[in-house]
């Protein structure tokens, strides 16, 4: 973990409110693992006050990339950075995805899929065959194809399509052949996690991990604002743990998912 400055290498607008930011920060890149995030300081005047957490979308040499959507003031400020600007970085932070043996299935819902691209690359480098399933509204994430190494299987689902697959989770069951071990890595909304949890229920040999999105304050574990309810220990009692330290990646079976 470093508190450091990064140099903006490139800022590209990919769609109306979707941007790709490239930041030169060798220390951060050297230590980054898939699933981890950086906590970005966007203003030197404490306005907006808090840093903003962003997943590492991919790395390339000494550069890390962030794929993000403009949803408010912080992300709008982020979209105004241009090549040569300096950005304040705390990171890399959080617990990364753990690699498990078996068939490698990565499932992303919308922009939440961002960290899976970095994971795809890592798994591919380790010699795994990767199946990457991505759900999008229309066609807005089709460009992800270019970020994925050759030889990885990539499938999309489109919500706007007239026929199946409209939801990315519809793609999952055909991959779950029972005779082998399966490792599932998920990034997306909680509704998607609930559906994956339903599909995997009762199936053995499946290890599923999910990245949980939480509003964050400090990003390093002191403010206790980013809590996630999990069931742990022998009695599987519900306790609150921190998404920024114990997460954002958790085992699906331990997370108490939101109701709605």
């Amino acid at each position: 973990m470093y508190l450091t400055e990064g140099l903006i290498n490139r800022q590209e607008q990919l769609a109306q409110d979707i941007f790709l930011l490239e930041v030169l920060a060798p220390q951060v890149v050297g230590n980054a693992r898939p699933g981890q995030f950086v906590h970005l300081g966007l203003s030197t005047t404490y306005d907006p006050l808090l840093r903003r957490p962003m997943s590492i979308f991919n790395v390339d040499g000494d550069v890390f990339k962030i794929l993000y959507q403009v949803v408010g003031r912080g992300t709008r400020l982020m979209s105004q950075f241009t090549r040569g600007d300096v950005i304040d970085i705390l990171g890399p932070l959080g617990r990364c995805f753990q690699t498990h043996e078996g068939k490698q299935i990565l499932i992303g819902g919308g922009l939440g899929a961002a960290p899976l691209i970095f994971l795809t690359r890592k798994l591919w480098q380790q010699g795994y065959h990767v199946h990457l399933l991505v759900g999008m509204k229309d066609n807005e994430l089709a460009f992800l194809q270019d970020e994925v190494p050759e030889g990885c299987d990539m499938c999309f689902s489109r919500e706007s399509a007239l026929e199946s697959p409209r939801m990315v989770t519809e793609l999952l069951p055909s991959f779950l052949e029972m005779e082998e071990r399966v490792s599932i890595y998920c990034c997306g909304p909680q509704a998607m996690y609930r559906e994956i949890s339903r599909i995997c229920e009762g199936l053995e040999n499946i290890k599923a991990q999910v990245a949980v999105d939480r509003h964050m304050g400090c990003g390093v574990g002191t403010c206790l604002s980013c809590i996630v309810p999990v069931r742990r220990g022998k009695r599987r009692e519900q306790v609150y743990v921190r998404a920024c330290v114990e997460g954002p990646v958790f085992d699906l079976e331990e997370v108490v998912l939101d109701e709605s």
Partner: protein, 306 residues
């Protein structure tokens, strides 16, 4: 000439007047990767209660203009956990450690003081009678001068440790409460805790925080906090630890001029973990440029005529 940053709170002498604010620094471990904790004047831990507290429901924090609202609700493992799991790390620090305590009843505070006084690593107690985020305790004590007197005087009988009473800004006469703490035998007061507030999500048409209300901190509260430190300084003789929205060296100096013998940094740590060191450097530089040799000379200067 090099300015002398040492300051005294009750019987403890501190290398410099920069403290961490309770609940914003854990027990220091997390930030020790970014700054050397020996640079701090003192470390004030997160709030410790007698029993385990799970805290309030999510969401617990929301950003507001130049500030944050939080409703953590004193999540902590309880005093036994604290002694077993946190003290070993705190023991190794070279700076004084002050433990912040909170309870539902008077008895809780007494028991906490008793237990923590047995720990050599604990150099002082900050008594939180001002947490706005738990229903039963804290704030209910801190808004009532008689109860503040009661709690302070009872703890005074139990412990030799320096007692710092942490005051809430959610009262009409903070000076009166400070006076009660002094009469009860406190070594110092600290202020301010957070200001009670709320935020509404207009799209969901509901309060944002899981607990509905939360405490406001950060730059937005600084003028209120500064005013209260100034007022309290006029009413009491014991030292004041000033806090509330300090983000820069200039803010720290303003609090000291208003009467704070030490200052604490809270919310700013979330944004800039290097703030304590930067603020200390500014303070040193400011004092030297102004020809001020000691903290004593600076404290309360805004009150002096001429």
């Amino acid at each position: 000439m090099k300015a002398d940053l040492t300051t005294k709170i009750g019987p403890i002498t501190l290398d410099n007047p920069i403290f961490t604010a309770s609940g914003t620094y854990g027990t220091g471990k997390e930030y020790s990767q970014y700054i050397s904790l020996s640079q701090l004047g003192a470390l004030v831990t997160k709030g410790v209660t007698l029993d385990y507290r799970s805290g309030n429901p999510y969401p617990r924090m929301v950003e507001t203009p130049a500030g944050i609202l939080n409703s953590i609700g004193l999540q902590n493992g309880g005093v036994d956990y604290f002694i077993k799991e946190e003290i070993p790390h705190l023991e190794k620090l070279s700076i004084p450690v002050i433990v912040n305590i909170a309870g539902r009843r008077l008895r809780d505070y007494e028991e906490l003081a008793r237990r923590l006084s047995e720990q050599p690593a604990v150099k002082g107690l900050e008594v939180n009678v001002s947490c706005p985020n738990v229903r039963e305790g804290g704030l209910a004590f801190g808004t009532n001068p008689r109860l503040v007197y009661e709690i302070t005087s009872r703890l005074r009988k139990i412990t030799q440790l320096p007692l710092i009473v942490k005051l809430t800004p959610n009262v009409s006469d903070v000076g009166q409460i400070a006076l009660s703490a002094q009469e009860g035998g406190a070594d110092a007061v600290s202020l301010i805790n957070t200001l009670l507030g709320m935020e509404v999500d207009i799209w969901k048409q509901k309060p944002i925080l899981g607990n509905i209300f939360g405490g406001l901190s950060g730059p937005a509260v600084k003028p209120v906090a500064l005013r209260m430190v100034y007022q309290v300084y006029q009413r009491i003789k014991i030292p004041i630890i000033g806090m509330g929205g300090i983000t820069r060296g200039e803010d720290a100096v303003a609090f000291m001029l208003a009467g704070a013998k030490a200052i604490a940094l809270g919310t700013v740590n979330f944004v800039n973990p290097k703030a304590p060191v930067q603020i200390k450097e500014f303070l040193l530089d400011y004092m030297e440029k102004q020809g001020i040799c000691s903290v004593e000379e600076l404290v309360g200067k805004a009150h002096r005529k001429g």
